[in-house]
Subunit: 189 residues, 2 copies
Amino acid sequence: MNLNNNSTAMDAIQKFREYIKEKGLRNTPEREMIIEEIFAIHNHFDVDELFLRLRNKKKRISKASLYRAIPLLIDSGLIKEVYFENGHLHYEHIYGHKHHCHLRCVSCGRIVEFADDEIVSIQNKIGKNYGFAITSHRFELLGYCSQCEQKQKTCTERNTSIKTLKRHQAIDMSIQTKNPHNQRGDTRR
Amino acid sequence: MNLNNNSTAMDAIQKFREYIKEKGLRNTPEREMIIEEIFAIHNHFDVDELFLRLRNKKKRISKASLYRAIPLLIDSGLIKEVYFENGHLHYEHIYGHKHHCHLRCVSCGRIVEFADDEIVSIQNKIGKNYGFAITSHRFELLGYCSQCEQKQKTCTERNTSIKTLKRHQAIDMSIQTKNPHNQRGDTRR
DNA sequence: TTATTATTGAGATTCATTTTCAATTATAGC
DNA sequence: GCTATAATTGAAAATGAATCTCAATAATAA
Ligand SMILES: [Mn+2]
Ligand SMILES: [Mn+2]
Ligand SMILES: [Zn+2]
Ligand SMILES: [Zn+2]
């Protein structure tokens, strides 16, 4: 939409071209359209949202290609996974953005981003203690946003019914897999 | 095996019974066998491992029951999800254990647990800044363990082949889902 | 002991992700 | 520009973790 978005997308595409060349791969218009669209999304996103947005713009890229592009985009440093929610992964573009962590309201799902320098010093301390060369971290704070906290206070009856228990109370998880076998959140940014 | 394990498991079962009563549910031998087995596992575990361990002890509990038990065990504070890896969630028992965070080697998958008090003060600071009542956090450090760091240094040839790229480079993700719709790593402890 | 209804297991289902494979096309070399 | 090579694509099938269905079973309260 605005100039800033487009220029970031172009930079990202440029970086991806270099990555592709370095790896001896081939670039394709599909991949560049994917990157362009991802950098037009200013929220956390999932594959389905990306697919639908592309489709709405008459870019008919198959989901297989999206799934195939994602590890490349991650490896090239353009995007990263942010969380696993509702049975699937959610991503955000990181190229051209500062690292940040997330605050999540466990009640309404609201997500707030924040950055804090102290985390890095803890990171360094722990890395030294355990002989690890730390390259990154993942820090998520869970709790109740001010609105939900308010509601909680005014609500006197407690929820004791198991009927409201959700399966998959997964919170911010996923791992770098080592073997190429099969393997298999709101979205504020 | 040893007394300590069993007594923790018994305490956990006791706590679960209270939880069940409070929620107006019914306890079953299956659920208690599940808890007993989980507290005999001193690693992070997944549903499949739990299922096989039970089966090896002639406790033939269906996977459906395992999946059904997990949200109860989480809600009652006995276990929690630790990460999403290789396409599925991994858990750990937390009852009777101090909260801890994880260091993960992105090369070999080694996981080291650590605790640090400074994290809590950061947590409080951020919570105050953003008006959140923080209830918990998730902090994971990623990097290279000393062994893998060593190998990296001695290895001169760089891995430039995309063939080694893994899908699902998910790292520690999963989210409390809001709707009851369908939704869907290594394991050192 | 009985009535009620939560829980179980087996199997079907769902759905995110991966794989297969034939057709297409990006790149390197000429 | 033309060709050969092999990476990439899309469509559809396959995979697999997690959930759901439903009839049979069994835990609780009365
Ligand atoms: Mn973010
Ligand atoms: Mn742990
Ligand atoms: Zn909220
Ligand atoms: Zn290592």
